[in-house]
Symmetry: C2
Subunit: 295 residues, 2 copies
Amino acid sequence: MSDTPLFERIALIGIGLIGSSLARAIRRDGLVRQVAVCAKSERTRARVVELGLADSVSADPASAVSGADLVVLCTPLGTYKEIAQRMAQALKPGAIVSDVGSTKQSALRDIGPFLPLGTHLVPAHPVAGTEHSGPDAGFAELFQGRWCILTPAPGADEGAVERVAELWRRVGSKITMMDAAHHDKVLAITSHVPHLIAYTIVGTATDLEEDTKSEVIKFSAGGFRDFTRIAASDPVMWRDVFLNNREAVLEMLQRFSEDLVALQRAIRWGEGDKLESLFTRTRAIRRSIIEAKQA
Amino acid sequence: MSDTPLFERIALIGIGLIGSSLARAIRRDGLVRQVAVCAKSERTRARVVELGLADSVSADPASAVSGADLVVLCTPLGTYKEIAQRMAQALKPGAIVSDVGSTKQSALRDIGPFLPLGTHLVPAHPVAGTEHSGPDAGFAELFQGRWCILTPAPGADEGAVERVAELWRRVGSKITMMDAAHHDKVLAITSHVPHLIAYTIVGTATDLEEDTKSEVIKFSAGGFRDFTRIAASDPVMWRDVFLNNREAVLEMLQRFSEDLVALQRAIRWGEGDKLESLFTRTRAIRRSIIEAKQA
């Protein structure tokens, strides 16, 4: 690449689907001069070396972030606080700390208080993913055409925000800015509640007797399999999403339950017109998503 | 084709996604000598001619079935009774009547009583589909590797059942036999309830204020878009599914709601272990579906 790299050294804390996709895109296009990876498990660190995802690999967040001008947390949300505490003193002056987590109020809450003066927190959420996890699951094109939402706190350093935005633009993302609380509400309905529902129905189906269970798999092409794909997403990551976006998820779940009860009632009383009218409305939404190129 | 056709003349009553896929597969492989199509709307009939899906096209079920040794209803479930009444007297002696509907007790109930002695009812349900509908949406490979469930009433003519089974085998399906009531229960959980839930959440999301609505589409890659695909399925077809499988759908919905409330409670009380344990269990189900080649 003839372009000057955007950063000298990035530390990726955690190297699952998102972290390894980011590493791949960065290395493919030379967006950062050096990539340092921190991973807790020895097996993951060995795999990072084999896959050539990093210039250096470490088990310790403090040594990974040392000298980095950008640090990105790519671990489950429940680990943020401990990582922030462990790495804070090793951050270089002026370093930018970001993350890729699915809830943003918690990112501000769990990382912010530990950062030394003169470092900058710019939380980010690339809205992209698959049901696969781990360093082998990533691919450089994952973010292409997808939104990346930045949720810096009011008064955050504009230069730092812009540098993080530019990195995401260069890996193919479209950038949007949002207040963290608003982000958590929008994502509760577009992502968190859909995942919870998928997990639930797959669980409900498997709780049916052993006999029916095998039939559930056999006839999954009737709609169920789409839910199982979503319900195959990383268990720890999603546990932490629900624990860290409790209020918004519970509110959206309440709305969903009310709507479901209304449909249940329409079925019980044979009110076909109510069913058809909703089903017609939802079909139009699908068209909008196709037009917005997010299908 | 050098093989003898399986039937002399098939009458397809309705020519949407399933009917037109069946027509395409039949004509590609010469499985039936003549294909007669019945469609209510003039526009659909014109399209059938343009697409070359049939040897003859008619608006009247009675004239479509005349001379047919196999009649397959491919219309929404709510039309079965009227079609059965209108075509019954025109059926040729020994004719087999089948369908492709998603609920099978209702098929036996709505068609059976009208068939003349000496004709045979063999309800079938090819568990395959997409979110698209109409004669243009079909394709000959739709049934490849998918299950087709036959639910003849006890005492049904074995020869007739076998002839219907063979047709589905020849278009690529795997055949299984089931009691109609059991079919309706298994499909309630693997197909009907998942669709209802998808319709519901897409409705819930669009009911959020106009502002959030556009954001719902924007960030749909976070999980929501998979639900919108399912919720784009044919509204009339699905209205009729819920009206015709009320008991089983309401029972499965009840189980689902209980499980969802349990998860809701786990989120409210911060019980991460309960969440993680379910999410781990559902991931295993996905693996089974991939192994069963239904993914």
